[in-house]
Amino acid sequence: MASTDISAKGKTISARLTPSGGAQQKLLAFASLIVLVIGFSLASPNFFQVSNIMAILQATSVNGVLAVGVTLIIITGGIDLSIGTLMTFCAVMTGVVLTWGGLPLPFGVLAALGTGAACGLVSGSLVARMRIPPFIATLGMMLVLKGMSLIVTGTKPIYFNDTPGFTTIAQGSLIGQIVPAFPVPNGVLVLFIVAGAAAWTLGRTVLGRYTFALGSNEEAVRLSGVNTDFWKIAIYTLSGAICGIAGLLIASRLNSAQPALGLGYELEAIAAVVIGGTSLSGGRGTILGTLIGALIMSVLTNGLRVLSVAPEWQTVVTGVIIIFAVYADQMRRRGKA
């Protein structure tokens, strides 16, 4: 009872920031995260250590960034299955520019962002202009990009040994240099910056408003005189650029672009989004929820590993969590109706 009171009050206050609610789901997700952290801390003294927490955060960064990007698309009522292989393709193009082209680091960053945005533009155009259902359009893109990564590299990884400082993009710690006791890896910093920017965009800007509106009732938005095709393409493009950031992070962490990697990352990211309470039917969702969702996934993986649970069981547990999260969301909505 008390919890419903809190959420009812919270809604009027936070309604501006989270236009389509989901506050309760977020609360539930956040509570689950806390319970998990406390549970694992009690179960193993090795869990709640600064180094381990940093490892968890670091492990969240790539999936988290991808999940933030795809959250935007899912709120429009779409889906993007190509984000995993796009991330890899962006990493590969960075390798092409830096290692093969010998250009300085900023060009590599531009290559990743540019490749991501360009591919997002293509996906968005397929969906908006050619009216191909997002699932199909991005399924196609997923395979195209997977193939392209392998073709460009000749199936061999590209290493970044010639680019000084490349690994610091994800692995260095700007914060650690200032506050040595708190060595947050740059990858995590990037994740929080991306998430903050995305949340701000969703909550405060025209693009964000149309993102929710498209998911809520696309035809009504079109009949309001809004160029829905343009905005949809813009959202896919933005999401693609965010995939580019993820590509940089993973390349930096591995100090290489691994062309065979990528497949499966899209589902992990979508899982984080769903656990975070974003509706796959569009119109509702939050970045904070997605962030919590991504953290739950990496806390689980890490915690189960600390407890020496076999990795195959970790995937089983993640699957169960996803189903439970959506079930809880359904129950909440049924209770409201």
């Binding site: 389509s20 405060r204 408003r209 809520s216 938005v221 009949l223 309001s224 005189g225 119109g283 509702r284």
Partner: protein, 501 residues
């Protein structure tokens, strides 16, 4: 005689709303009991309780003297309480017979469907209703009227003794309404009790025995339909007397032309249509269902492509290929189907009002000026008298009339010169209707050029300065305001062959 249904002191709360305040209602066998009230008065909520969709917070329900609980729609059906929803709940891709027996398909061994029995049973029901219909047609291909017949047949197939009809004639033409009434009378004769929700006064007089009026979630009174004048019922609904005003036609000879349309065509739907509209003018579009009025509006607005035609706004030709182009040219369109085409139901009042004008309230990097929008939304809520707890309320929680006002506010904020209203008062109660009429007149007085498409002739007559009439995709004539109904109907039924002769 015990009542078929008796609802006593029904109470229902929704978040922020006391939807039903100790409401009573009763229904006898073989009567048509009209339930009236403005939108948001609680009629639909009360009937959703009677059909097991909502659960009451207080009060009791008796069916033939026995107290019952209705935890699910299925439980209500089992007790013979059938409801035909305003928005038809049929599966468009299934056939007529499959729809009727959905969830109760006759089976053979190994879970095979007994299609023969299914069709035979469905045929028996339609035979009882004296309706000819092809049971194997897919429902999506039927007219709305026929779909309604299917809904009624479905309800009857549960051996319903009570049939709740929520605005059954909203999308029907006169011939179809007559057909529906024939069926209602037949059901009545068989002892079925019918709850009839409608906003159309003439229908209530034609079909119902008793009328119960609700207002603001409370019971107002029950009267005999035959001996109660319409004005009495209306005053019960709105809580005040309402007078019908005749249209005042302004002198627009000096007014600037706002919109000109020449030679618009598309396939068989639109045939060489041309007209013009002055600033400050209200041009009504009359015609039967399917005459092409909505198609014309959507064509002008760029929502559907055209084969040929020219559109001039203030004398200048404009190219309109999308709604975005139309809005840029200053043309706004308020769809007949608010829920699907007018509103983002899950978003709040403020976001919906701002929907067509967002870029104007955003800075260079796309940041939305929320405080400005909040002031604007509150301004419109006050000016249009939108009944909502606040501008943060999701529009799906508003009543039809208030939703319509939100759509109007959206276009007022966009400041369009030409506004096309497609069935502006569909599903809206009498009191709110008068408000919408007043609003349209005010807008015209401010110099807006207004097109009103309406299937209700009294509405067209009351509003229009000129009346354009369409039939089968052609503009058959433009009459002066206040024209005789007979003249309008003559043009509305003027078929092509006759026109050529």
């Amino acid at each position: 005689m015990t009542d078929l249904v008796r609802m006593e002191a029904i109470d229902k709360h929704f978040p922020g709303v006391h939807a039903l305040k100790s409401v009573g209602f009763d229904l006898r066998a073989g009567e048509v009991h009209a339930l009236m009230g403005e939108n948001g008065a609680g009629k639909s909520t009360l009937m959703k309780i009677l059909s097991g969709v909502y659960h009451p917070d207080g009060g009791r329900i008796l069916v033939e003297g026995q107290e019952v609980t209705l935890p699910t729609p299925r439980a209500a059906q089992a007790l013979g309480l059938g409801i035909i929803h305003q928005e038809l709940a049929l599966m468009r891709d299934l056939t007529v017979a499959q729809n009727i027996f959905i969830g109760r398909e006759p089976r053979l061994t190994f879970g095979r469907l007994d299609e023969a029995k299914l069709n035979a049973d469905a045929a028996a029901i339609f035979a009882g209703m004296n309706i000819a219909i092809d049971l194997r047609t897919v429902v999506g291909g039927l007219t709305i009227a026929k779909q309604q017949m299917v809904e009624i047949a479905k309800a009857l197939s549960y051996r319903s003794r009570v049939l709740i009809m929520d605005e059954p004639t909203a999308a029907l033409n006169d011939a179809e309404i007559a057909e529906l009434f024939t069926i209602i009378r037949r059901l009545k004769a068989e002892g079925v009790g019918i709850v009839y929700i409608s906003h159309k006064m003439d229908e209530i007089k034609r079909i119902s025995d008793r009328v119960t009026v609700m207002r603001d979630g409370a019971y107002v009174g029950t009267v005999q339909a035959e001996e109660t004048p319409i004005s009495k019922i209306i005053s019960m609904m709105v809580g005040r007397e309402l007078q019908d005003e005749a249209v005042v036609i302004p002198d627009l000879s000096a007014a600037e032309t706002a919109l000109e349309v020449h030679g618009i065509r598309r396939g068989k739907e639109l045939k060489d249509i041309g007209f013009s509209l002055k600033k400050g003018e209200i041009l009504g579009f009359a015609g039967l269902m399917g005459a092409g009025r909505t198609e014309l509006a959507r064509a002008i607005f760029g929502a559907e492509p055209i084969d040929a035609g020219e559109i001039l706004v203030r004398g200048k030709p404009v190219r309109i290929a999308s709604p975005a182009d139309a809005v840029k040219a200053g043309i706004g369109y308020l769809s007949e189907d608010r829920k699907h085409f007018g509103l983002a139901l899950g978003m709040d009042v403020r976001a919906n009002i701002a929907m067509a004008s967002l870029p104007r309230y955003a800075d260079a990097i796309g940041r939305i000026d929320e405080p400005a929008l909040e002031r604007i939304a509150e301004d419109f809520i006050a000016k249009l008298n939108i009944r909502t707890p606040g501008d943060g309320q999701e529009v799906r929680l508003l009543s039809g009339g208030n939703q319509q006002k939100v759509v109007i506010a959206k276009w007022l904020l966009r400041d369009c010169d030409v506004l096309i209203f497609d069935e502006p008062t569909r599903g809206i109660d009498v009191g709110a209707k008068a408000e919408i009429y007043r609003l349209l007149n005010e807008l015209a007085a401010q110099g807006k050029a207004i097109i009103v498409i309406s299937s209700e002739l009294p509405e067209v007559l009351r509003l229009s300065h000129r009346i354009a009439v369409m039939c089968e995709g052609r503009l058959t004539g433009i009459l002066p305001g206040g024209a005789a109904q007979e003249d309008i109907m003559a043009l509305a039924t003027q078929r092509e062959s006759k026109a050529a002769a």
